[in-house]
């Protein structure tokens, strides 16, 4: 998956408009990034990337790029 595709998957999981997120977007500034969106990221990581995200890890992400890089790694 390209970073572009991961961004789109993330937008889908977080229920935000396509192409509304960039690698630089600060998560704190995304109105939709609430606890349900965080849970959605955990599920996306597990379902589509086979990665287990802990609660501690999810709290450490500060930009959208942090999530994308984690999923792509």
């Amino acid at each position: 998956m390209t970073k572009e595709q991961i961004l789109n998957a993330l937008e889908d999981a977080m229920n935000v408009a396509q192409n509304s997120l960039t690698m630089e977007t600060v998560l704190f500034d995304v109105h939709e990034y609430d606890s349900m969106a965080k849970l959605s990221v955990i599920i996306l990581a597990d379902d589509d990337f086979g990665k287990k995200l802990t609660g501690e890890q999810i709290r450490e992400f500060s930009t959208v790029g942090d999530i994308v890089n984690f999923l792509a790694s």
């Binding site: 849970l39 599920i43 609660g55």
Partner: protein
């Protein structure tokens, strides 16, 4: 009450962890004969390490595939003898917002938590499989009553059990079988610790409403054993809260 369980035959599913395990420990101490279920190899190993004796039997089964129950369980039950109690402690916790639900996940959760339970009740309530006074208890959840974000399917599966139990109670009382549910609040088990480690927030919002604090497995075991015992013989088809005040 302890002596009441001596030589009684109790079937516990989900016995290798949490509330099921604590219940098995207590009833073993009372001299009951136990048929203990676990889903995994490690679960069965843990049960055998803890409870290996001529009095107890073990059954490994995957609750995602209840079709296989009857053939495997029949001979074990024939060997074990008629049941005095059945406590279903299996519960697959599933947290998913609606946009990430899919048919497979929904069906699996309903199968493991509800369909498998119904199939087991069918099997154990056949003639010669139970003694008069059999008490059937299933563990439900506060989420079935209060709801919770991202647990729609889990809550529905528990609600389904409680609804079914109200019907089964009316259907089975003539055979002198009682059927009840325990509405469990948040209890500090291994599963709870796993849940908290995977949670996006550090505090548990449930405990804001569960004002008596996090329960311990024994808190729920005490209520289960009361419901198993003859002392609760006038209660049927009910959902009994063990919830630290959550629903009040």
């Amino acid at each position: 009450m302890m002596s009441e369980f001596k030589n009684k035959k109790i079937f516990i599913t989900g016995a290798s962890k949490g509330i099921g395990f604590a219940l098995a420990k207590y009833l073993d101490g009372c001299g009951a004969s136990l048929l203990l279920h676990a889903s995994s190899d490690e679960g069965i190993k843990r049960l055998k390490e803890e409870f290996l004796s001529d009095e107890h039997k073990f059954w490994q089964a995957d609750f995602f595939n209840p079709e296989s129950f009857e053939s495997k369980l029949s001979s074990i039950l024939d060997d074990f003898g008629p049941l005095d109690g059945f406590v279903n402690c299996v519960g697959v916790r599933m947290r998913r917002p609606i946009n990430l639900l899919n048919v497979g996940v929904i069906q699996q959760t309903m199968t493991a938590n509800f369909v498998s339970y119904m199939e087991l009740v069918k099997i154990i309530t056949k003639r010669n499989r139970f003694n008069s006074g059999l008490s059937i208890i299933s563990i439900s959840s506060i989420s079935a009553h209060a709801g919770g974000a991202a647990v729609s399917v889990y809550a529905a599966s528990k609600g389904a059990i409680e609804s079914a139990n109200r019907c089964l109670a009316k259907e089975l009382y003539k055979k002198n079988i009682r059927v009840n549910s325990i509405i469990c609040g948040q209890v500090g088990t291994e599963a709870y610790n796993d849940l908290m480690a995977s949670k996006e927030n550090t505090t548990d919002p449930v405990l804001e409403r569960q004002y008596m604090g996090l329960g311990i497995p024994k808190d729920v075991v005490n209520i289960i054993t009361f419901m198993l015992s003859n002392q609760s013989k006038f209660i049927n088809g009910q959902s009994i809260p063990a919830d630290g005040g959550y629903l009040t």
